[in-house]
Amino acid sequence: MTGLLWLASLLLVGLSGLPLLLHRAFAGYPLSTRLVLAGASGAALVSFAMTAAVLLGIPWNVPGLVAAGAVLAAGLRLFLKPALVFAADAPRPPEPGEAPRVLAAAALSLIAVGAALGATFAGAATSPDLLFFWGPKAQQFALARTFDAAFMRDEFHQHMHAYYPPLVTNLGAFASMAAGRMSWTGATLTFPLLLVFLAAGLPGALADRLGRAHAAAIAALTIAVISCLGVEADIAGNGEMPLLLFETLAIALLISDAAAEPPTQLIAGILLAGAAATKVEGLPFTISAAALFFLARPRASRPFWPAAGRLILPAAVMLSAWFAFGASRRIFFGYSGYGTLFDLHLDHARVVLAAVGRSLSAAGHALPWLVPLGCVLAALPLTRRWILPVGTAAILTAFFLFTYIHRPEDPSLWISWSAARIFSPVAMLLALAASLGSRGEPRPASP
């Protein structure tokens, strides 16, 4: 029962995003997509409100945090012009034979979510990391109603990575305060819960460019990739699923026709900020996705500076607040590395590549990467937008290899338990890239 209450309380953060997503600029999205975007934006905003409250010395309480998130969303709404016409306002007429295709794809998505749910319920998808650091910090912060600096400094809590960005522990603390205590089962069930949200929201985010049937098929592929990876690599309760939720929705928006619209760019920026505030690797993802957007979508990203502000400022503000906390309490001053920045151990390169290969093979024979890669190849030639997902995947891959080669000791063991999980966004990006097959001129965006 506590687990259900814990999970249900997470829905409250979605309320915070509603003032923004109720704006008519988003009226062209299906209701399910709008609600999922509100939930994800609300989660990022509530997490930021929690960090800001700590900096201001205000103890957390659930209603206050929901209200603070909603005020932030309402404030951001002021940046949207009331008379904006959104690209998706004019829905595509149904294509012949569309309904059965959409149903078939939706059924596959549902089965994929069901598999994730079954594995999680069976205790077959949980990683010890939930007990090592995500959960204990969330629980302690909920008890303290703030970031517990003494807990973070404790010499026996070094393994809790005090510098890890705060969103997962913030939302865990939020749910624990609302439910009265931490629920470990509830935390694991965030994997199927967020996956079902993604299954509900993703098709609508892709449909303006692809049409409903093709969008449903790409969404089914993406959900199947994440479900398979989550079960094979044990991500239930970890930061991976929230990270994938933010990243998938952000990229889906940025490769859509609507990405030329400031409101879509703003929501994508909030989602990228959510990714950056979820895991360390969310920051390189955010930077590369924002930078490659300008390369992949030169017309959609004009004028440059306002678009850059919408995409990057939310992440910059959220991470600045986190690092301001760490520095002001002298707990951390940035992300911890494994040595001097360019002190690479190139003699480990072969070991690293072999270990990464073994780790990805062990996760479903690497099918979660190979299948979407095959779909990308089958969709060739791609539109110019491929630069965004494929380029981001390439930059992430380079970042992960750089990180592994950085460690003075043999990194094989580390890679064996981390690579499949941290490379999961690469598989998701390939799945979305498979939607970029050239099918003639894209629909013209509204002015």
Binding site: A115, L221, A224, V231
Partner: protein
Amino acid sequence: MKRDSPLSTLDSRLFFVPLIGAAILVAFTLVSLPWKENLFRRPRTIFDRSAASAVAPGYALVAAAVPVIPAGATVVVRTEPRDPIAETYYHRFADALLPGRRALPASFYGRFAPPEVSRDAAYVLIVGAKPAEPPGRLLLETPEGTVWETPPRR
């Protein structure tokens, strides 16, 4: 009678290729679920059928100890026989599952900690067989291990 124009070959390929990819992955995921371990039987712990199932006994014992270890107490988790890697895991589990208590490590980062680190623990959890020399008063015994209250130090 003329039918509606069918989707083009290109459109069909763009739809069916990802759909078939999704079907392959969903089928693989379903097959990989632990059906042989009675998938629908409620697990004792959240790790029972995961790749980390070896740590499930420690999780079960620490979770079972919650009612018998008071708030503010110091606690250490050991294994019998001693295993520094498992003890490292279980120290972290104690941090997670026993909020409000202070968990002292018997082992840290895969190495035995000096005995004085956990010497003052008021409660000792032992995952595995009952020790030959009881560390104090037995409070709880489960299939996964035992929980002891140590005598107060003078």
